[in-house]
Symmetry: C2
Subunit: 208 residues, 2 copies
Amino acid sequence: MDFEEAGTLVLPAAHGKAICLRAGWRVRVVNPHGTQALDFWAFNAADPSEFLSMDNVRSFNSVAYVEKETALVTTQRRPIVCMTEDTSAGQHDTLLCACNPAIYRELGVKGYHRSCSDNLHEALGEIGWKVPFTPAPLNMFMSVDVRPDGSLDRILPRSKPGAHVELRAEFDAVLVFSNCPQDVTTINGPDRTPRDCVLKILPPADAP
Amino acid sequence: MDFEEAGTLVLPAAHGKAICLRAGWRVRVVNPHGTQALDFWAFNAADPSEFLSMDNVRSFNSVAYVEKETALVTTQRRPIVCMTEDTSAGQHDTLLCACNPAIYRELGVKGYHRSCSDNLHEALGEIGWKVPFTPAPLNMFMSVDVRPDGSLDRILPRSKPGAHVELRAEFDAVLVFSNCPQDVTTINGPDRTPRDCVLKILPPADAP
């Protein structure tokens, strides 16, 4: 496995990318328009059966949403990444699935439409990995409220242009980002336009 | 695969069971004490990569909790079971992970403790299946509120003794039930005592 060196990558609209980060290295996820939802997954680089688990995150922290201080734990209840910075509107969603081919069929799309679920598997394939299911993602820059009656309210994106989230790998990890390709609903903003994001790979904060 | 015949099974406290149901067959899950949480999973009998998905259920229905009318859809967004009856307190939880070995270590338990996650894999093993991860369960007879600030409130069980839920298989399916072995927290009631439940296998409602 090739671990990332310091540098900047453009994550094209509607596409995904897997990066391998050594423990202590960071990735700053910059949202130039502020409105782009990013689905996020993390796997133990040494054992893909251990991965960031939304149902364990909710249980471990007793929260429905992720904020900067939320412990982002795996299926083994170990923190895999730490959100070291967050200039977004926060309240990152843990509740909704990655968009997938069946959702676009429900929405009336004819033919193939890119999806966060397919982006995950495409990105993992590019590093030679195959994971036989789609874990529930952390939906960054995306907020869903739970109303008192238990119904869900998908909120229009409300982060400012240039907002960023910084994640530090707590051990060697494969991180996968998908710029959500949703252009039918308003989850990426009222203009329904998927946009690029930027990934800045940064060495450990205390590196010389 | 041996599909279940009509009959009654006792699900022993703290243990799990997998049953194979033909399309249209039903299982009535009876909770003699009313307080016992049951973790539930469902898999396509012909393809275990398609399974009941809590993140898709929340997305498909725009709800955080499961009630009788909620569509219980798979990773392919197809209903796999239908809740045809529910005399429990409802508001079945979709948010929390199955209890697992790491949770019992966090709670200070020394040595091995049974868990819903292990029960799932043990039960699948008894029918010759191996699934390499633990899907998020539907936690029946268990309710968790989301407070306005996004924090979670685990509610004491409030179903009456003898409450039941009835599930109908929408296509040939493997259903797995785990009587939650939790005896440290009060998720199974203030006396922290895991208890038996009963599974009644019923033929299609229109059978002669």
